[in-house]
C-alpha cells in the first residue's frame, strides 16, 4: 500500500468505554471513528472543531527527563527537581504527555506521575508496545502496536486507570494527541481523525496533502504532520489546500541523516541502535510574526556532538560536545536540554551557552527529555563558535569522522583567526583520521589570518624526547605565510629546511616560501641546504627545493651566494635536474626579473645586505 493511498481493508473494532485498566474487562460498543466512505468536506468539520476547542488549552508537557537504565526508569523534574526511580524497565522510548510519563513493557502499558514517578495505572496491551501518547489533563490517549505493521490499538485511559475508549485497527495509527476530550489520531498517512473519547464518535477529520503520522501537543498547541507540521488553528480549514499554518525544518545534509519526529507509525525500541543518537529536535511556536521554531534554532545530534542550527537556513549556531552519546533532546521556549548516556542532562541557553545541568545518577540506554514549557537562562556566555568547534573536534574520537568533516567545513566559514590554530592542531592530532588531517592541511594553506598561531606552530619541531611525534604542517604554513608576505616567518622556515623529520613535500614548500621571503639572516641555513642536496637531490620535490633555495641565495647572498650557485651550475656532480634549474635561474632574463607588484614584495630591505 502506498503511503498516501486510502487505507484499504480498514477494520476498526471499537470497544466499550467502561473497561477498567489493571486487568479489567474491556467491553465492545458501537461506533466507527474511521470510515472508508468519508467524503472530503473542504475542512469544514475540522474547522468547526477547532473553533469549538480554540479557547481550551491542552496542557504543556511537564519539564522532566526520564532515563532508561538496565533495571528500570529514573526521572527528574527539570531544572532541579528530586530524582525518582521506577523498578520496571521499558521496551520502547517513554513519552512525556502532560504531567504523565507513559511507557510499555512486556505487554503492559503504564503511566507514571512525571513529578514523582508514582505509578498511576497499568493496562494490558497483549504483545503490543507504546508508539505514541498524549494527555489533556484528565485523559491519556495512546497508540500501541506490534513490531510488525498493522494491529494498532488506540486507548484512552482516565487518570484513575479506567479505559474510556479503546479500539483495534488493521491500519497503522500514528502518534496521537488529545485536547479537551477529543483525540486526534493520524492514520493512513494522510488523515487525522478527531474522535470524541467519551462517545467514540469521529467528530471531524483532517485531510492533508503531505504525510501525516504525528499529532503533537507542543506546549499546548496541536500540530499535525511528519516532516513538516500544520498547526491546529484558525487556518486549519484550508490546510487541505496547503494554506494552513505550516512549519518545517530547512533541508540540510547532516551526519547520519537524522530525522526530527520521524514516522509516527513506527516504534522507538530501547536498544543500542544509533537511531536514538542521531536525531533532530525542535519546538514549533506561533507568534505575532507567524510560526517559527523557538530559539530560531533546532538541534541535531550525532552521538557525542550536538549542533545548534538555524531554523531559517540550517547554518551552524553552536556546537555542544558531550562526554557520552546524546540520547534525548528537547527545545525549550528559550534554550535546550540534552540527555546523554552518562545520565547527565545538559541545559543549554538559546545561544549555546551553559544553562546548568542535572544528573539522573545512572548510565542510560535511552532517555526522554521535555523542556518545551521552560525558559532556560544562561549561566555562562558561550565561547566563540570557532572555539566550540575546536573543542568538539578535540574531543571527538576517530570513528566520528563524518561529524569531524562537517565541523571542519563549518570551521572554514568562520573569520576568527583562532580557526588557523584549530586547523593546525588538527594536523597534529592522532584522533583525526588521515584524510581529514590532509583536508585540514589544505585549508591551512588558504588561511590569511592567525599569523601568530602559524609562527607558534613553526617554532615546534619533531621531538622524540618530548613526544612531539608529528612535525607542524610546514608546507601549508609556508604557503599561507608566503601569501601573507610574512617575513617574520623566515628564520623559522629556514630552521625547518634542514630538519629531516619534515616531509619532503613540506620542505619543498618551505624552500619556495624562502625563495620569496628569505633575508640575508637565513643565508647560512640556505647555504647548508644547498650544499647538502645540490648533488644528492634524488626526488622531484627535493630538486625543486634546491632550485628555490638557490634563487634565495642569489637574491640575498650577494656575490658569495651567486658564486656558490654559479659553481654548482658548472659542477658535473650537481644533480642534472638541479643543474638545469640553476642554469635557468642564472639566465639573463631570470637574473633581472620584473619587479613584482608592491603589495607582493616582502619587506626585506633592512636585512638585504649579503653576509
Amino acid at each position: 500500500m502506498s503511503r498516501l493511498s486510502l487505507g484499504r481493508g480498514l477494520a476498526v473494532l471499537a470497544m466499550g468505554a467502561s473497561g477498567v485498566a489493571c486487568g479489567g474487562a474491556v467491553a465492545s460498543s458501537a461506533g466507527t471513528p474511521f470510515s472508508e466512505t468519508w467524503r472530503a468536506d473542504q475542512g469544514k468539520s475540522i474547522a468547526a472543531l477547532e473553533m469549538r476547542l480554540r479557547t481550551a488549552q491542552a496542557p504543556s508537557a511537564a519539564p522532566v527527563a526520564v532515563g532508561v537504565t538496565e533495571t528500570g526508569l529514573v526521572g527528574l523534574k527539570l531544572p532541579n527537581g528530586k530524582r525518582w526511580t521506577h523498578a520496571s524497565t521499558v521496551d520502547t522510548l517513554p513519552i512525556v504527555a502532560g504531567s504523565v510519563v507513559v511507557a510499555s513493557n512486556g505487554g503492559v502499558l503504564f503511566a507514571l506521575d512525571a513529578g514523582s514517578g508514582q505509578l498511576l495505572w497499568t493496562l494490558p496491551i497483549e504483545k503490543r508496545k507504546l508508539r505514541g501518547a498524549g494527555d489533556d489533563g484528565s485523559t491519556t490517549v495512546a497508540v500501541v502496536a506490534g513490531d510488525n505493521p498493522g494491529k494498532s490499538r488506540f486507548v484512552a485511559v482516565t487518570r484513575e486507570g479506567s479505559v474510556k475508549h479503546q479500539f483495534d485497527s488493521t491500519v497503522d495509527l500514528g502518534f496521537p494527541a488529545i485536547k479537551q476530550g477529543v483525540a486526534f489520531i493520524p492514520w493512513s498517512d494522510q488523515y487525522v481523525s478527531a474522535v470524541d473519547v467519551g462517545s467514540g464518535d469521529e467528530v471531524a477529520r483532517l485531510l492533508l496533502r503531505e504525510i501525516v503520522t504525528q499529532a503533537r501537543n507542543f506546549n499546548g498547541d496541536l500540530w499535525f504532520g511528519e516532516k513538516g507540521l500544520v498547526r491546529f488553528d484558525d487556518k486549519i480549514r484550508v490546510a487541505t489546500t496547503n494554506q494552513g499554518t505550516r512549519l518545517g525544518l530547512p533541508a540540510r545534509q547532516l551526519p547520519g541523516n537524522p530525522v526530527w519526529l520521524g514516522s509516527g507509525n513506527q516504534l522507538w525500541p530501547i536498544s543500542s541502535s544509533a537511531r536514538l543518537k542521531i536525531r533532530l529536535s525542535a519546538l514549533p511556536i506561533a507568534s505575532a510574526e507567524g510560526a517559527h521554531f523557538t530559539n530560531r534554532t533546532y538541534l541535531a545530534s550525532y552521538f557525542r556532538v550536538v549542533l545548534g542550527l538555524s531554523d531559517q537556513d540550517g547554518s551552524l549556531r553552536f556546537v555542544k560536545s558531550l562526554s557520552a552519546d546524546a540520547l534525548g533532546m528537547s527545545a525549550a521556549q528559550r534554550g535546550f536540554a540534552i540527555c546523554d548516556a552518562s545520565g547527565k542532562v545538559s541545559l543549554v541557553s538559546e545561544q549555546g551557552g551553559d544553562a546548568g545541568s542535572a544528573d539522573l545518577g545512572a548510565r542510560l540506554t535511552a532517555c526522554t527529555v521535555d523542556v518545551s514549557a521552560l525558559s532556560l537562562a544562561p549561566v555562562a556566555a558561550p565561547a566563540t563558535l570557532a572555539e566550540q568547534i575546536g573543542r568538539a573536534l578535540g574531543e571527538l574520537s576517530p570513528e566520528m569522522a563524518v561529524a569531524q568533516k562537517l565541523l571542519v567545513d563549518e570551521l572554514t566559514k568562520q573569520d576568527d583567526p583562532l580557526v588557523t590554530k584549530i586547523l593546525i592542531d588538527l594536523t597534529s592530532s592522532a584522533k583525526i583520521p588521515p584524510d581529514l588531517r590532509s583536508a585540514a592541511r589544505k585549508l591551512i594553506a588558504t588561511r590569511r589570518s592567525g599569523k601568530e598561531y602559524m609562527l607558534a606552530a613553526l617554532e615546534r619541531h619533531y621531538d622524540y624526547v618530548s613526544d612531539v611525534l608529528l612535525p607542524p604542517p610546514l608546507g601549508p604554513l609556508s604557503d599561507a605565510l608566503a601569501a601573507m608576505n610574512e617575513v617574520a616567518a623566515t628564520p623559522l622556515l629556514a630552521r625547518h629546511l634542514n630538519d629531516p623529520a619534515n616531509d619532503m613535500i613540506d620542505v619543498e614548500h618551505a624552500a619556495i616560501a624562502l625563495g620569496k621571503l628569505a633575508t640575508a639572516a637565513e643565508y647560512e641555513d640556505l647555504r647548508t641546504f644547498f650544499a647538502l642536496y645540490r648533488a644528492t637531490a634524488d626526488e622531484p620535490s627535493l630538486v625543486k627545493a634546491v632550485v628555490a633555495v638557490a634563487s634565495a641565495l642569489v637574491r640575498v647572498g650577494g656575490a658569495s651566494g651567486k658564486s656558490i650557485v654559479e659553481r654548482a651550475t658548472h659542477d658535473p656532480l650537481t644533480q642534472a635536474e638541479v643543474r638545469r634549474g640553476l642554469s635557468a635561474l642564472l639566465a639573463p632574463e631570470s637574473a633581472a626579473p620584473a619587479a613584482p607588484p608592491a603589495a607582493e614584495t616582502p619587506n626585506v630591505a633592512k636585512n638585504a645586505q649579503p653576509p
Binding site: H461, Y462, D463, Y464, V465, S466, L469, N498, D499, P500, A501, M504, E524, T528, F530, A531, L532, Y533, R534, A535, T536, D538, L542, R567, A568, D571, P572, L573
Partner: protein, 289 residues
Amino acid sequence: MSVRNPRILIIGAALLAHSLPGAADAAPKAGAAHGPRPASAAAPKTRLDLPNLQRSLESADEAQALAALARIASSADPAGAPLVEALLGRGASVTVLSRALSTLGTLGLPSSGAALAPYARHRTPELRRAALRALIATKSPLAGGVLRRALHGNDASLRAIAAQGLGELNVRAAVPELFNVLSKDVAEAAQSLGLLCLAAECEKFLALLGRLRFEVMESGIVPILLRPEADVADELKLKVIERLRRMATQPANQLLQTALATFPADGSPRVKRGLERALKGFSVIEEAP
C-alpha cells in the same frame, strides 16, 4: 665461560667505552669555524700530495674523488682533513659524501666537527648515520650538541648511535635525555647511563630494573659495577648484585660473570667478594659468624 654473543658484544662495547681516557667535554659551542681551510694552509710536513688530491676532489670524476679520499684515509695524515672538509662544504654525490664522512672519522680530528655536523641532519639516512659516527670518532666539541639533537630526531638508528656516543664522549648534560629515551626502548641509552650516572642517577637507573625489559637495561649494569666508589657507592653495587642473584636467570648470571671477569684490579674488594658470593649462589651480605 659460556656467553651469548650479542650480549657480550654490548657489554664489550660498554667496557671499551669505559676504558676510554677522560673524554672531551663535548658541550656544543656556537660559532665554530665554518668552511674549509685552503689546502695551502695545512701543516707543511706531510707525505700527501695535497695539490693533486685537491684537484682530484674538485674534479667532476667520482672515481678520482673516491681514490683521493682512500689515499687520505689510508695515510691517516691530518693534513688531508681540510680537503675533505672542503668537499663536504661544497657537496657531492651520496657515494663520495659517504666516503668523505668516514674519512674524517678515520682521521679523527676534533676540528672536523663543523664540516660533519650539518650532515647529521641530511635527508639520506646513511649519510646522517655516517656523519654521527664520524663526529663521535673526532670527539669534536660540537659532537655533544649534535648527538643530543639526534636523540630528539625521528630516525631510530640515529638515536641509537647518538645514545651510545653520548656515553662514549662523556656528555653528562645528556643524562636526563638518556633516561627519557631509555624508557622508550632505546637500549643504547642504558650503556651510556651506566657510564655517565652519578650517585642518585645510578640509583634511579637501577630502580628501573624490573620495570623496563632486562634486554633494555643490561648493557648499563656492568659499567656501573665497574665504576669507582666515588661515582657509585659500593652499597648500591652490592644491592644490584644481590638483585641479579635473586633473579636467578641465565642473562643475569652472565652479567655477574662478565663483571667479575673484567673487575679492575684496584676495584672495591667488597664488591668483588659480593660478585664471587653471588655467583656461588650466596647472598652478597655476609652473615655474622
